[in-house]
Symmetry: C2
Subunit: 385 residues, 2 copies
């Protein structure tokens, strides 16, 4: 009896009422018997440490409608949209998931699936059009807008809203598979991705909630009980917790060593080293490194790679590995997994698994240095709800 499944790709930083709504909608739209969340681990897409560790965030999800939580490892999670999508879609495809639901700021009338197929079938033309713009000083989103304006004129694409960009990336990636998942965009309710102001009584963005926490404001009512409890009992992390380590790493490394870090391109390592000598906080550091070419997010990601000591040659090696790291499941999730006996799923990290998932283990050990955070891998078994 094959179970109908729906995948969602999430960070839950932290899990809030909007996420709960998204899970409910996903189940409702697709009629899925099992909702599978592929969730970033302890470091997130925009190059930030998670405010709460992955186990607590997985538990929040399981308490609020998700059936299965699988970790998106750091080599896929801390990446721009296309790689992030590639890693997450790969996991859902491995699990033979039927459909993918994702939030978007766009009206749901946009046909993501046919966009994905179009890109898949026209890769050369797109690449060519993109190259033609290589001399222009356009940003990447601007170039992409230009490219699609000429090649795909039936709809105006906006490459500047984060969730929509992720949606496009999911669509492109999904279209590469022989059996693509059914795509279901769900329009975000009430709160935009970056909105810092809480406009609704029950739903606010994760950014707004973190902002409120920093200012000591009440967030009860915006998050489910489990999140509320976690936020008051867990050691909460921000980049500032890791700033002393990042600073030490930059000061203690030679420029030559820094050039070996993933995504480090000429010149920026020297800017980072100089800024580290005088900056008195992570925020001060990023603002000192920032240039027109390097956005805040890109510097944050680069800072993650430095902090985690991720080398250029390491990412392709890690991305070639095919383990799935299971964080937790409900009864429905457990039944679904029983059908997947042939997949390499890590329920425990022992010596062998630690070698295979070396970067994940190392990143979590560094995450643990940020505060009073429990052991993240060895001896940890998946949460059963």
């Amino acid at each position: 009896m094959r179970m109908k499944s729906c995948g969602i790709i999430v960070e839950y930083n932290p899990f809030h009422n909007g996420h709960r709504y998204h899970v409910e909608m996903a189940r409702k739209i697709t009629g899925a018997e099992v909702v599978i969340a592929v969730m970033s681990g302890n470091f997130l897409q925009r190059g930030e440490p998670a405010i709460i560790d992955k186990w607590h965030r997985a538990n929040e999800a399981l308490q609020n409608g998700v059936d299965l939580v699988v970790e998106l490892p750091v080599e896929w999670a801390v990446q721009s949209a296309d790689y992030f999508a590639k890693g997450a879609v790969k996991i859902l495809q491995t699990l033979d998931c039927d459909s993918l639901c994702f939030g978007t700021e766009e009206e749901t009338s946009f046909d993501y699936s046919s966009f994905g197929r179009f890109v898949q079938e026209n890769q050369d033309r797109i690449e060519e059009a993109f190259q033609e713009l290589s001399d222009q000083t356009y940003s990447y989103p601007q170039k992409m807008t230009e490219v699609f304006r000429s090649l795909y004129p039936d709809i105006t694409l906006d490459f500047s809203s984060p969730n929509h960009i992720l949606g496009l990336s999911y669509a492109k990636e999904n279209a590469k598979y022989v059996h693509p998942m059914e795509l279901h965009p769900i329009r975000r309710k009430s709160a935009g991705y970056h909105e810092k102001i809480i406009t609704d009584q029950r739903i606010a963005s994760a950014t707004a909630i973190r902002h409120a926490l920093e200012e000591g404001k009440r967030i009860a009512g915006l998050v489910p009980p489990q999140t509320e409890e976690d936020l008051s009992t867990c050691s909460l992390q921000t980049w500032e917790s890791y700033w002393p380590y990042l600073r030490y790493r930059l000061l203690s490394s030679t420029l030559l060593e820094l050039t070996d870090i993933y995504q480090m391109t000429e010149g920026i390592e020297s800017r980072m080293k100089t800024a580290a000598a005088t900056a008195d906080s992570f925020e001060d550091f990023v603002s000192k490194v920032k240039t027109k070419r390097y956005t805040w997010t890109r510097i944050q990601r680069l800072s993650c790679y430095v902090l985690l000591n991720i080398k250029k040659q390491e990412i392709p090696v890690q991305q070639n590995k095919n383990y799935l790291r299971l964080l937790g499941f409900t009864d429905a999730g457990r039944r679904f997994l029983k059908e997947k006996k042939e997949i390499s799923i890590y329920s425990r990290i022992g010596k062998k698994e630690a070698q295979e998932a070396e970067l994940l283990v190392r990143s979590d050990q560094i995450y643990q240095l940020g505060g009073n955070i429990p052991e993240q891998n060895f001896g940890q078994i998946p949460i059963r709800v």
Copy 2:
């Protein structure tokens, strides 16, 4: 008018009354017009951060009888006796110093100069005798004792008291030069090197003084006024201040990267990485790494190399450089330096000097992370007393 000069090799961690006595004796015995201290910078021979930074320690020395303070850079300072001696004697020879005074636990009847000449003239025989013992499980001091018992029978050598071992190293190194310095051992007064108990009212070892400070006991009367002031106003450092950084470095480096660290020999990098994951203090860490083969001091030195990210290939490169880093001088010191126009003496560290003394600058930047410590190089000019 050539000035008569006497060199001393010191760490001043911190400067105390025994050091003051040593400087007075050095001047008296040799009749020197200028006393030159070659002083370890911010990291010390036994692999420890200095309790007070190099500028304050240099000032303490200048206030108490020393005329000239030159830094022994980290590539020579954090080393076993022979390399430590080699770096320090090289500096004094560069300055064309007439004599060398050093403390010793031995009776002063031992003839260090003729011992030095004997070693210089019999290097092959010593090496051969040492090799013959290579299969034995003896420690290095035990082997040396054996070697000299057969080759140099007129006196029983004790290779277990630290200052005496340093004295022997100075003697061996000094004998290699065409114009060796006159050697003057000065018997230590009152306090043994490692003595933790304060037995005298006015003189105690630096170890005893640091111990007393840790326990919050009064140390006034054991140190000159300048040291007393510095100990109450400076940010005082111990290994524990750097433990979070050492731990992060061990956890964030791969085993392969750790094997590239200076003095890292097979197996110990894995012990260090494992210990770092669970140790809750530097002391706990060292006790977890310790083996019969690795002494506490050796692990401390290795920890320094890891903390400062010193690579195997880096030490020989740095040791080949010939700059002298001037920390301070009195009027007599200034007059003495006027005679030495041909020597490359760094009074300021600019961009060029920072490249040449790269390891020194990097080590000091890391030292500064330990607490509220002023900039150690850029913009710092020698102290004039």
